[in-house]
């Protein structure tokens, strides 16, 4: 589904990603963890070309994506993204947010899109919120709308960039529930998070990034019970 080979990324002189190799299989849920500054969010953003790699290869659905020759908007139609700060469109209602891309990118007829949008809102438990504006929603509700909006393009993979980090603690659960549901439906997911409980319960594989490299990866049980890398041990001691 996604294949990354020897990815390097610099911000100016700062070497953020130092040769990352990553494979994500269809229907797999990969959770990326690591200290802040370890490069996990940058790696995720590179997968959607919101950040441009400096070297290395990124293959989506088996095809190498070269930003110079591949129209990125076509690639992004298949790669959904959920942001830490939701980034809902404040001038559109919840339903309009969800159907914006289906109508204007996929050219879906508006009435068909509205039906599709309402079905997605029901899926994230917000069937009654279609006609309100995002400002009226709680953080957890906003993030669930953002998930529905990304799903509306029927992506083959979903990227989550710290989806619960901006939420009040009591609202984290409702977002994680929706994500668990997606995983159970077989969605391919790459999740950057600090929610270790989610990683342990839902992930097929945990990837630990340290100083721009994948220091350790494995199934969650092995990783959490018996981490090998000293920095992984130290990190888990601090967050668990």
């Amino acid at each position: 589904m996604i294949k990354v080979e020897q990815l390097h990324k610099y911000f100016g002189d700062l070497h953020v990603l130092k040769g990352v190799d990553l494979n994500v299989a269809p229907r797999e849920v990969v959770v990326m963890i690591g200290a802040s500054g370890s490069g996990k969010s940058t790696l995720l953003r590179c997968l959607n070309f919101l950040e441009m790699k400096n070297s290395g290869r990124i293959l989506i659905d088996g095809e190498e994506v070269d930003p110079a020759t591949t129209p990125l908007n076509k690639v992004r139609e298949h790669v959904g993204m959920v942001f830490q700060h939701f980034n809902l469109f404040p001038h559109m209602t919840v339903l309009e947010n969800v159907i914006e891309a289906p109508v204007h990118v996929k050219k879906m007829p508006p009435d068909e899109a509205a039906k599709w949008g309402r079905a997605l809102l029901e899926k994230v438990g917000l069937a009654d919120k279609g006609d309100v504006y995002p400002e009226k929603l709680s953080g957890g509700q906003k993030q669930r709308v953002a998930i529905a909006r990304a799903l509306a393009m029927e992506p083959s993979v979903m990227l989550f960039d710290e989806p619960t980090s901006a939420l009040d603690p009591e609202l984290v659960g409702e977002v994680l529930e929706v994500m668990k549901g997606l995983a159970a439906d077989g969605m391919t997911m790459v999740v950057v998070t600090h929610e270790m409980g989610f990683a342990r319960e839902v992930a097929d594989r945990v990837v630990f990034l340290d100083a721009g490299q994948i220091a350790e990866e494995g199934d969650p049980e092995t990783f959490f019970e018996n981490p090998q890398h000293p920095n992984a041990r130290q990190f888990l001691r601090r967050v668990l």
């Binding site: 919101l50 001038h91 914006e100």
Partner: protein
């Protein structure tokens, strides 16, 4: 005081005609300025170097020189190559002038929209132009309304400077009357009252628009 009110009443029909000219000058030039401002602001935010350089040159020259110089330059300059009525020379000069300030307003408002908005739109497969039109500009326009209103009021009052290329609007009519009657103070006060009344109307309309658009948010 009696002579003031007599003058005010006696010149009322002539001033209404002059006020209509002021309104036309202002209205037409501001509509053109909005188009100029939007086009230039979009040129600046594309990130394409030579477009940004054109923008910098335009805004730099217009903001760096007095409006009266721009009016004279256009009136005496362009009429060498192109036959242009005083009205259109004045209107175009005012449009080019306000356009630079409006371009800065649009540029600032576009750039003030959180960059997560463009990222979210692009992550949904929207091309940059579509995202600009559907996501960024509606938010930027809403923020632009208060500073645009301010610029409209400035544009209305700045239209007085076309008096010097022989257009009969409020200010030039006051000058003519003052010169003939030697009642300078009275006629410039009358001019001020007409501008004050027109600005009051514009301010009222703007506050209604701002309330309706809820621009405080």
């Amino acid at each position: 005081m009696t002579s003031f009110f007599e003058n005010l009443i006696n010149t009322f029909p002539a001033f209404m005609e002059a006020a209509w000219m002021t309104l036309r000058l202002t209205g037409v030039s501001l509509v053109l300025a909005l188009v100029i401002g939007l086009v230039f602001a979009l040129m600046k935010v594309t990130g394409i170097r030579w477009l940004a350089l054109i923008y910098n040159g335009y805004v730099g020259i217009i903001r760096g020189t007095p409006l009266i110089v721009q009016i004279m330059w256009l009136y005496f300059g362009i009429t060498h190559i192109l036959v242009l009525s005083a009205f259109w020379a004045g209107t175009i000069a005012l449009a080019i002038h306000s356009g630079a300030y409006i371009a800065e307003i649009f540029r600032g408002c576009i750039q003030s929209v959180d960059k997560g908005q463009m990222e979210a739109a692009e992550s949904l497969g929207m091309k940059r132009a579509l995202a600009m039109r559907r996501v960024i500009l509606p938010q930027a326009f809403k923020r632009a309304i208060p500073p645009l209103g301010n610029q409209f009021i400035i544009g209305l009052k700045d239209s007085s400077l076309v008096a010097f290329i022989g257009i009969t609007e409020i200010f030039s009519l006051s000058m003519d009357n003052a010169a003939v009657t030697f009642k300078q103070l009275e006629f410039y006060t009358i001019a001020g009252l007409y501008y004050l009344a027109m600005v009051a109307v514009v301010t009222f309309i703007l506050s209604r628009v701002e309330n309706r658009m809820d621009t405080a948010k």
